[in-house]
């Protein structure tokens, strides 16, 4: 609301009936703006910690627990496998000869015994079968073949 100031009377000799002159405001009234900004600030400050992440749990330390099981195991067979017989176990490049033992170690103590196989589309059927045999010999019960949908990049 505009400020209201009583206007000093011009003089005692003037008319007795009160005469007011409203003075114009020389500045922008920022009070509503500050109100709005503070409310927005508080709303964002209250919600910001909530949207960052879920419940914060301090994980206990234990010496004798196994590694987290049920991580997905990916075996990737690039097209160069036909020449060098190298495969990728997750992100580690290894010879296919070591694949069976490494998968056996990974499957130890796991309940699902699953491996996801990412084979290059240009591989021979026989090459994939070789990898299959090694995975089965390592105790893998289910092999998932990773593919793309048509048009998917």
């Amino acid at each position: 609301m505009p400020k209201v100031q009583p206007i000093p009377e011009a003089g005692p000799g003037r008319l007795g009936r009160g005469h007011r002159v409203s003075s114009s405001l020389a500045e922008i009234n920022v009070v509503p703006l500050v109100d709005v900004m503070l409310v927005l600030l508080i709303i964002f400050m209250v919600t910001a910690p909530m949207i960052q992440r879920g419940v914060d749990v301090n994980i206990p330390v234990s010496r004798n627990s196994g590694p987290i099981v049920n991580e997905r195991v990916f075996v990737s067979v690039p097209v160069a496998y036909r020449q060098n017989h190298l495969v990728y176990l997750d992100n580690e490049q290894i010879r296919v000869d070591a694949l069976q033992e490494r998968i056996r170690q990974k499957m130890e103590g796991r309940s699902d015994k699953e491996v996801y196989l990412r084979g290059d589309a240009g591989l021979l059927y026989q090459d994939l079968m070789d990898v299959f045999d090694r995975l089965h010999a390592a105790g893998v019960a289910r092999i998932g073949l990773v593919n793309k949908l048509p048009g998917e990049k």
Partner: protein, 477 residues
């Protein structure tokens, strides 16, 4: 104005203060976050870091390929192969390391010396540590060198050299296994320990008074069942062997004079003593025919033995010095008191008595005082065996079916009993390994009576004997 209706003017200052406070708190919270940790400097190889161990409880995987024969004759090659295989078995037995199966080593090129080990190939197969050894023929015998490499760094964490006769290469593997367990895990392995047991495998028949009774002789074997040797030759019953704590003598019950008596064979010296010869007897050599002395057990310091005898009319427990002197009776009850075992400190003796009507466990001081009953919740208990330290447990055979026994363990700390066998045949006569991590017992699970070993968790059951019937194992210290 809508917002103004929520916050009328007099409150503006309060809201402003609250906002400032929240801003201040948020700043404070940000400041309290720990500063970025500087990355630790790479560890220098110290005594401590010579231990190969994975964090987070993940198993430490070792590979033990065949040793390298530096001299190329067939004998050295065979010794090198044997040491590698036996060392793999020895390390695998304690289950402290995960051993990578030997059939996966074929694709990895064999090293010719310590310097050309293909570490990357062993890393590829998942090994954390690799044991490489060489065997060399020398004038007197063989020289064996061994190193344990940490795969991640290629550095040696253990190195040792041995030389001696090549007659029994398994001894080298057993020694290496024990020393690696000691150095890497401060664990007393059992690779160099031996088992003693009685066996009827020779099928000899006793002549004389007791007709058609099978003879049994005392045999010893390595902990893994290799190198089985007979140590008594008297064509009578020789049973219930017990190793002296120094591993140089075996006390046992023998019927060689007709009545059972306790003998001590000093197997390395090749001499023999009769412990219970002091009992009253008709001639100077043998006790009375009615006197029976059974089931000797050594005190932990090896100076005394406890045994069962009926010399005073009914089965009681006695303690004698190692030379047979100072025989003291420590139980007095008209019921039978049998099958004694010493506590790890040597101050107490547990035994079986049927004074309550059924065979139950009792504990008494080695001086015969302070008798208490140990209730383990079983109706029929036989052959208690007190564990070595650091464990404080008593293993025993408990009758679980009308025909059979199972091995059970009573833990003094928790007061709980748990079973190690579950009705696979009948399982009797438990004996602790000196490190308390394994037990030997006799079982009919494979048909005839055979000796088996089992881990203290009931896993890793192994058959030790395969010929004849074999009973009542004892495990050397």
């Amino acid at each position: 104005m809508m917002i103004q209706s929520f916050f009328n003017r007099p409150n503006t200052r309060a809201v402003l203060t609250l906002g400032a406070a929240v801003v201040a708190l948020a700043t404070l919270g940000a400041r309290q976050q720990p500063p970025q940790q500087p990355t630790p400097a790479p560890q220098q190889p110290t005594e401590l870091s010579a231990v190969i161990k994975n964090g987070g409880g993940a198993p430490t995987r070792l590979a033990v390929p065949s040793f390298i024969a530096l001299t190329s004759d067939a004998e050295t090659t065979a010794i090198a192969k044997t040491i590698g295989q036996v060392l793999w078995d020895d390390l695998n037995y304690e289950r402290e390391f995960e051993l990578i199966p030997r059939d996966t080593y074929a694709t990895i090129p064999a090293a010719k010396s310590f310097t050309d080990v293909p570490m990357d190939r062993w890393h590829e197969i998942g090994a954390d540590g690799l044991i490489v050894g060489t065997v060399e023929k020398t004038g007197a015998g063989i020289k064996v060198q061994v190193r344990l490499f940490r795969i991640a760094t290629g550095q040696s964490a253990f190195g040792q050299e041995y030389s001696g006769s090549g007659a029994n290469p398994r001894v080298y593997a057993h020694t290496i296994s024990d020393e690696i367990h000691k150095q890497q895990r401060n664990l007393n392995g059992v690779a160099r320990t031996k088992l003693a047991f009685d066996s009827d495998r020779d099928g000899e028949r006793m002549g004389g008074t007791i007709e058609q009774r099978s003879t049994k002789e005392i045999y010893i074997a390595d902990y893994d069942g290799e190198n089985q040797k007979r140590i008594t030759v008297n064509k009578s019953l020789n049973i219930t062997a017990a190793w002296s704590p120094d591993g140089r003598s075996i006390a046992y019950t023998s019927y060689r004079h007709g009545a059972p008596s306790i003998f001590i064979s000093n197997i390395f010296a090749g001499t023999m003593e009769e412990l219970t010869k002091t009992a009253p007897s008709t001639d100077s050599k043998t006790p009375r025919a009615s006197d029976s002395n059974f089931l000797p057990q050594w005190s932990p310091d090896g100076t005394r033995l406890c045994f069962m005898s009926n010399r005073d009319g009914n089965p009681e427990i006695y303690v004698a010095n190692r030379d047979g002197s100072n025989v003291r009776r420590i139980t007095t009850h008209p019921a039978g008191d049998v099958s004694c075992t010493w506590s790890p400190s040597g101050t107490q003796i547990a035994f079986v008595s049927d004074r309550s009507g059924a065979p139950q466990l009792y504990i008494v001081g080695a001086d015969g005082l302070g008798l208490t009953r140990l209730s383990v919740g079983e109706s029929y208990v036989d052959r208690p065996t007190w564990s070595p330290p650091p464990y404080n447990e008593i293993a025993f055979a408990a009758r679980t079916t009308s025909a059979g026994f199972d091995i059970k363990v009573f833990d003094f700390a928790s007061g709980q009993v748990h079973a190690l066998t579950f009705g696979e045949g009948t399982n009797e006569s438990p004996a602790w390994a000196p490190n308390g991590r394994h037990l030997a017992f006799s079982s009919t699970r494979a048909g005839k009576w055979q000796i088996f070993t089992v881990g203290r968790d009931g896993k890793n059951v192994r058959q030790i004997t395969r010929s004849g019937n074999n009973y009542q194992p004892a495990w050397s210290k």
